[in-house]
């Protein structure tokens, strides 16, 4: 690296005259990128493109993949399970993004702006930590506890019986009509702490005088929520909705632990559908096609999100 020291004062904006020294300088930095680049290519780059190739073949995982053109995609679009699984993805977005964000916003505002002032930071901290608790464990552990809670001989039916409503008891996860709402409830429970914690942290940087001024002007709690809280924490809302939407489209572990996509595919989601096709049905080409479509949807959704955010920021600057 002796050459590196020679060119030390260079800056990225050096004009063309000193191009040689700039090249040398870059070369020495590139060496730091080699391990990462090699690993990245081997673990993400090649598998990613190989998966796309596999989606154009018929293959059971042994022997050689046979090229099949767009056969798997044609199959996919004619497959009811595929459409069901993506419809269920929308339900996942409702359960992991829409409901937690709305409830999280209200909870954070109530805890911060309403209860915090009267009961102090201690009470608020304890409540916040409680809401966050489901976020710290492996989601599959949560899934297994809930799987038992919702079993025919589990706690929900036990509770219904205890209050004399035993006739309302159900096999919550075994009935196609109830399985999806039950799974959605579990996911709301898992997710709720994340927006609460992020939004409360965001509220910490809002100027308290805004609230005081609003209050002196006679604004009620609801007015303050609408006029101050929501606009002030928009950047955090954006991050929360983007990360949670991507997580919702990819959700796997809770479905695996709760229902394995059943009953009758009523809770099947693309990731579980792909897993099942790869490893249980050994229909690798088809599984690869599902995974490729899922990837495409995620990239498009993320792209739309980022474009909207960029536009909103430009509007603010004006």
């Amino acid at each position: 690296m002796s050459s590196a020291t020679l060119s030390r004062t260079d800056d990225a904006s050096v004009p063309t005259g000193r191009l040689t020294s700039r090249r040398r300088r870059e070369a020495s930095y590139w060496t730091y990128f080699i391990p990462g680049a090699v690993l990245f290519t081997a673990v993400i780059g090649i598998p990613f493109f190989y998966n796309i190739y596999l989606s154009l073949t018929r293959w059971s995982g042994v022997g050689k993949p046979r090229f099949a053109g767009f056969h798997q995609y044609a199959r996919l679009f004619a497959d009811d399970v595929f459409w069901t699984s993506f419809r269920n993805s929308l339900a996942m977005v409702v359960a992991m993004v829409v409901v937690p964000t709305v409830i999280g916003l209200v909870l954070a505002a109530v805890l911060f702006d309403y209860l915090g002032r009267r009961f102090g930071a201690g009470v608020v901290s304890v409540l916040r930590a409680t809401f966050y608790l489901p976020q710290i464990l492996p989601v599959v552990v949560a899934g297994i506890v809930w799987g038992w809670v919702l079993r025919p001989d589990g706690a929900v039916n036990g509770l219904l019986e205890a209050v004399g409503l035993g006739s309302l008891g159900q096999d919550w996860l075994g009935d196609p009509g109830f399985a999806m709402p039950a799974v959605m409830l579990v996911l709301v429970w898992v997710q709720i702490g994340y927006p609460v914690v992020i939004f409360m942290a965001a509220l910490g940087r809002v100027d308290p005088e805004l609230y005081e001024a609003a209050e002196l002007d006679g604004a009620g709690w609801w007015d303050r929520l609408r006029a101050i809280t929501i606009p002030q924490i928009r950047p955090e809302t954006y991050v929360v909705t983007l990360t949670c939407t991507i997580a919702a489209l990819k959700v796997f572990a809770p479905i695996f632990a709760l229902t394995r996509g059943g009953p009758e595919n009523s809770t099947n989601v693309p990731s579980y559908f792909a897993y099942n096709t790869f490893f249980k049905k050994l229909d690798v080409g088809y599984g690869a096609a599902i995974a490729t479509v899922l990837t495409l949807i995620i990239v498009v959704v993320a792209g739309v999100f980022m474009a909207l955010q960029a536009r909103a920021e430009r509007r603010d600057e004006r």
């Binding site: 020495s28 990128f33 673990v43 598998p47 596999l54 209860l115 464990l137 990819k250 572990a253």
Partner: protein
């Protein structure tokens, strides 16, 4: 960004530390009439009830982890145990060889946490401080990689691992998650190092420090708070990972704590007390990490913000 960040991606929904007093409530220096009255108590009770509903599954789990199967079938899930029954715990402990699973999880998560942080730092050094050409594209690529569903990589990874003899080894999972986590770490650190004070780097160069020395003697110590947070995030995210370990690790010797619980439950051989006991001992490590890490996390995050 879960896997990515969260999210798993699940990723970003990671590990903000709530227990600590982050946003202190604003000083109640004015007390208008709106602040008095019973209304607040009503709201407090309502919110507390919501919080109780959130922890109810944990309480139920605790209650039933120590109940015998016959007690469970005769008295149901809501009663207090007639006696403290620990056979559920010991059954699960022995059946899955829990200490082995714990060790596996610790090995995999620690190796990934350290390796992924080192890789992130090296990448970010080239991108953020070296400002190599095309760095915006590279960072964009890492961001994109963060969003990829693991389903789009899993079959080729499974197939290649079988070819090279890494299938069902912890090394395979360690390598895969080192890359996946460092995709996020690179993205984050590259922007942190992009704002690294140039004057410090120039001073180091004037003192005759090589790039390697600059990295380890200057950049590393200054960014250590951020790196600590990354190590903790990567550890916890990897600990909680499920999909790829489920596919890659199929034997008792290699599986992690969450995978062991899920596969045993999948066999439907567990009665309610064993299920609850298994869940209970599977989540204890996470609670411990949480208690240990939350102070470091808050400190680290704040140190990062003060810059």
């Amino acid at each position: 960004m879960s896997a990515i960040i969260t999210t798993s991606t699940t990723q970003a929904p990671g590990t903000q530390a709530p227990g600590t007093d982050g946003p202190a409530s604003p000083a109640p220096r004015f007390t208008s009439r709106l602040h008095r009255g019973p209304g607040r108590w009503v709201v407090l009770v309502l919110i507390t009830l919501c919080a109780l509903a959130v922890i109810a599954p944990f309480l139920l789990m605790l209650l039933n982890a120590f109940k015998s199967p016959s007690d469970y079938s005769s008295n149901g899930p809501l009663s207090l145990p007639t006696e403290i029954y620990t056979k559920g715990l010991t059954t699960y402990w022995e059946q899955v060889n829990y200490p082995q699973k714990l060790l596996n999880s610790i090995i995999i998560s620690s190796a990934v946490a350290v390796a992924a942080t080192v890789v992130s730092l090296l990448n970010a050094f080239a991108l953020g401080i070296g400002r190599v050409r095309g760095r915006l594209w590279i960072v964009g690529l890492f961001l994109l990689a963060n969003m990829l569903p693991q389903e789009a990589l899993v079959y080729p990874l499974y197939f290649f691992a079988k070819q090279v003899g890494l299938y069902n080894t912890q090394l395979s999972v360690i390598i895969i998650f080192t890359v996946i986590q460092s995709a996020f770490g690179t993205y984050l650190l590259a922007s942190v190092l992009g704002t690294f004070p140039r004057s410090v780097l120039e001073a180091a160069a004037l003192d005759g420090a090589s790039r390697w020395q600059t990295l380890w003697r200057v950049v590393f110590p200054i960014t250590r708070p951020t790196l600590t947070v990354l190590v903790i995030f990567f550890f916890i995210w990897t600990w909680n990972e499920f999909f790829i370990p489920l596919v890659m690790l199929i034997s008792n010797k290699t599986q992690t704590v969450p995978v062991a619980l899920a596969t045993l439950q999948g066999d439907r051989i567990m009665d309610a007390p064993t299920t609850n006991a298994g869940a209970l001992i599977s989540l204890i490590p996470c609670v411990i990490f949480f208690l240990i890490f939350q102070r470091t996390l808050t400190r680290g995050v704040m140190a990062g913000a003060e810059k």
